[in-house]
Symmetry: C2
Subunit: 504 residues, 2 copies
């Protein structure tokens, strides 16, 4: 009131006591954000699925430097609406049928809130006992749901750990396998002789992980597959490749098989592949990032036949078990091999519990040191929904994919290219079977561009066996039957427009 | 009403339509979780900082398998309170002075909520343009705050990316350095000849990353430091080591220097180290996980002197910039070397934007393929608080550490072991300087155990130069002056009790 001393009411002044975690301010802003997000979910269908912005769009909208003084949440949220959301490809849209959808749920969201809020760093047991122990329990729960043998469970002789991505799961097991062989073969020179195997359908991250681990690029052997065998890896060809390498003085190290490949959800036959691996002392890993989740249903469990013969298995609940990113579950038969390759023991982390060897220190199961309370999310999902609902969720996606498959089959201009196993339908527009493959590919490229640029549906493509294929992956959490029906209607419209355009 | 048909009101039946992301159910449960977390923050001081449970405690409290039917949120939250919280070491407690605290804020929390909610997978630009572009902008903002040269910025000739952990930042740059050398040295055999350098104070994750990358363990050279040089890495000793290796026919590859080591926050002299690195074509990385954040204040920026001469730099805002886990910022001068070593280009990810090379695809800057909308958290922090508040936050922690240092100095039974630079005070109880070092170590071990088992304060130890040291790290977000004063009072009580115990 007339005072010239402004210091006491200058509310935006940074000199005021700065409390970044005042519980009541936290409560207020977090409630505000909950409503913002719930509203986003309600409106999600109103946004183009695939963002239509041009490269560099955002740098013209935001300042070049961070603000010196605070800005209110309202301003920031308004920028999210105006500037961020239009630049997003909306992975949670019910009209997202691209790649593999990344699935979500209320339970996983609030589990992640809890995980974030604790911010506990579980590098070793003592640093947060509950974080380590709950992860062990949840990994055993999921192993049980998948009917994995005891050799993969803590309650048996193995164990599991949550990694961020399949890439890390492959990398750490590959390192464990590598160091086991290097230890027995003595000379460090033998790293040049190590050979790893995959199929030409294995995810590209496998080659990347092998290069990271120092495997000579020409020793990363990709075994060809073909349409007749539904792109699955042939144990006969694997054996042939291994025999050739052994004869050439090389050392077979690691095999990555897949249950549900990225291009077409092909399934490699685990049992006969494991026989070859066992015979040659090869570490066999199964990447079941997508397909593995389906194995919680008895009718899909057959794809894990032979799993007792492999050394490690990874599966990403963020792909099909409603868990949000990042969540990749890795089980291993020999935790001690992981720990041997990845353990560190600096003085500043030493403690009695770890030294007694009565506890698990998850820092020795992963690349990094720090780690969050990762299991809370999965724990919330498993408890909030129960096995029954998760099974019916998988079945519902597969049912919708079957419906789509039926629609494609009923239209003579289209064809299904590979047998559908899970929620992915691989098809193409092929109205003139006598036309050359280049022409058919062009048609399908044009159709895909037409569909995606509409913003109403997003799907992607692949090329397998030289054939350009459209992929329609059912699985976004919000997708219902009518979205699938509308997508098919749009694709047919796109086919009409494409065929008309080509002939005019 | 008397009907025998129970199907319509059997509310726990999984046969009911299962909607894992109903926006209104989401709103309700997320609000519930906000209140649960805000209440946890309000009560956090009532819990023992260091968990006092015994190994295996949780497996006796939880069932061995996941439930078949859903459980209500109330039951789960009650289990969190009863079973999980007692098993946690409360990293956010204001009485947490262990390791380096992991800092948090309301802005980062709601930023993480937003990131989780979008669940957008930004492996390449097209998969979520806003996710890639905001990360580029935020990395440039932070680079500006740190006064990094243009050679580390997208607006200049470099660029930055958010990794999960320092381990990954080191691993990917080491791989880029390794593959550059292997490409020029031709023979793959030369991986055996590659040598990497660090000091005996470098974080243990460096050795781990080097082993992951296939560096021969005996070629990981740890250069000794000493108390007289405050445990900083000597450029003279580095040069000597490098010269010896070159003379022996080895190839110097990579140097990891540190700004703020884990044991004592030692700072390696970047400028003269970079001179040696440049001369021998060594990739020099700076791990500024903890200390780097302080460099947003002009009075600490000196520790980055010489930064223009290094190849890469990592810094973890989760350590001191209020961002929650995981958040490690990595800047590189030559993004193309990272991309060359880490890129993959499978058909199913191909798109026009990536092929035009007009965009950044962050999958080629990291180990994994998938990645979240990571920059939202940091963006929210920088905008909500502004540079001014972040600077005052750093200064407030340092001021409290100085106060603690003064208290230690004023008690003759204690001594400060290494000069305090940031928020960490390294000290020990040393009432009988004429006693042997084994005796003094025993005293301090007993004191630490006394303090930590009280549950009222958690601090940790280290050993440097053969000396057992207590570490008191000020920096937990909720810590205020009175917590520091109370902690010191408790430590003094512990000293009394320990000395009495020893002499009785």
């Amino acid at each position: 009131m007339g005072s010239l001393d402004l210091s006491s009411d200058n509310s935006s002044s940074p000199q005021r006591e700065f409390k970044p975690l005042d519980p009541e301010e936290f409560r207020k802003q977090a409630h505000q954000m909950v409503d913002f997000i719930a509203d986003y979910y309600k409106q999600i269908e109103t946004y183009p699925v695939l963002s239509q912005v041009q490269p560099g769009y955002l740098s013209t909208l935001l300042p070049q430097t961070a603000p010196y003084l605070p800005e209110p949440l309202e301003t920031i949220l308004s920028d999210v609406t105006k500037n961020i959301i239009p630049g997003m490809t909306h992975w949670l849209s019910p009209n997202f049928f691209a790649f593999f959808p990344a699935t979500v749920s209320t339970a996983a969201f609030i589990g992640e809130m809890l995980c974030t809020s604790f911010n506990s760093v579980g590098f070793n047991w003592l640093a947060s006992p509950a974080a380590t122990e709950l992860e062990m329990i949840v990994m055993d729960w999921l192993a049980n749901m998948l009917k994995l043998p005891n050799s993969f469970m803590f309650s048996g002789t193995g164990g599991g750990v949550i990694q961020n991505t399949t890439s890390e799961a492959i990398l750490v097991t590959l390192i464990a396998a590598r160091d086991r062989v290097l230890a027995t073969n003595g000379s460090n020179q033998s790293i040049r002789k190590l050979v790893v195997y995959c199929s030409d359908q294995t995810h590209s991250t496998f080659t990347k992980a092998a290069k990271l681990a120092g495997i000579t690029p020409c020793n990363i052997k990709s075994i060809p597959t073909n349409l007749d065998a539904a792109f699955s890896l042939s144990p006969v060809l694997l054996r042939k490749a291994v025999e050739g390498d052994v004869a050439a003085g090389l050392i077979p190290l690691y095999l990555c098989a897949t249950v549900g490949t990225t291009s077409t959800t092909a399934v490699d036959p685990l049992e006969p592949l494991a026989d070859v691996a066992r015979e040659y002392g090869i570490w066999m890993h199964v990447d079941a990032a997508y397909g593995g989740s389906a194995c919680i249903c008895p009718e899909f469990r057959q794809y894990f036949n032979g799993i007792e013969g492999v050394d490690s298995l990874s599966l990403s609940p963020h792909k099909w078990l409603l868990s949000y990113l990042d969540c990749c579950c890795l089980w291993v038969k020999s935790p001690r091999l992981l720990v041997k390759a990845l353990s560190t023991n600096p003085e500043y982390l030493r403690n009695k519990a770890s030294e007694s060897e009565s506890v698990v220190d998850f820092k020795d199961w992963q690349v990094g040191t720090g780690r969050k309370f990762k299991s809370l999310r999965l724990w919330l999902v498993l408890r909030s929904y129960g096995v029954a609902n998760l099974q019916s969720h998988i079945r519902s996606d597969v049912r919708m994919a079957k419906v789509f498959e039926g629609l494609v089959n009923a239209d003579r201009r289209f064809e299904i290219l590979v047998p559908r196993r899970f929620g992915l339908v691989c098809f193409r527009l092929n109205p003139f079977p006598w036309a050359g493959s280049a022409y058919t590919e062009l048609l399908n490229r044009k159709l895909l561009e037409w569909v995606n640029s509409s913003g109403r549906v997003y799907m992607t493509h692949t090329i397998v066996g030289g054939i350009y294929i459209l992929r329609f992956a059912v699985g976004a959490t919000l997708t219902e039957d009518h979205h699938v029906a509308a997508a098919w209607k749009l694709i047919k419209e796109g086919a009409d427009a494409t065929l008309k355009g080509i002939h005019n």
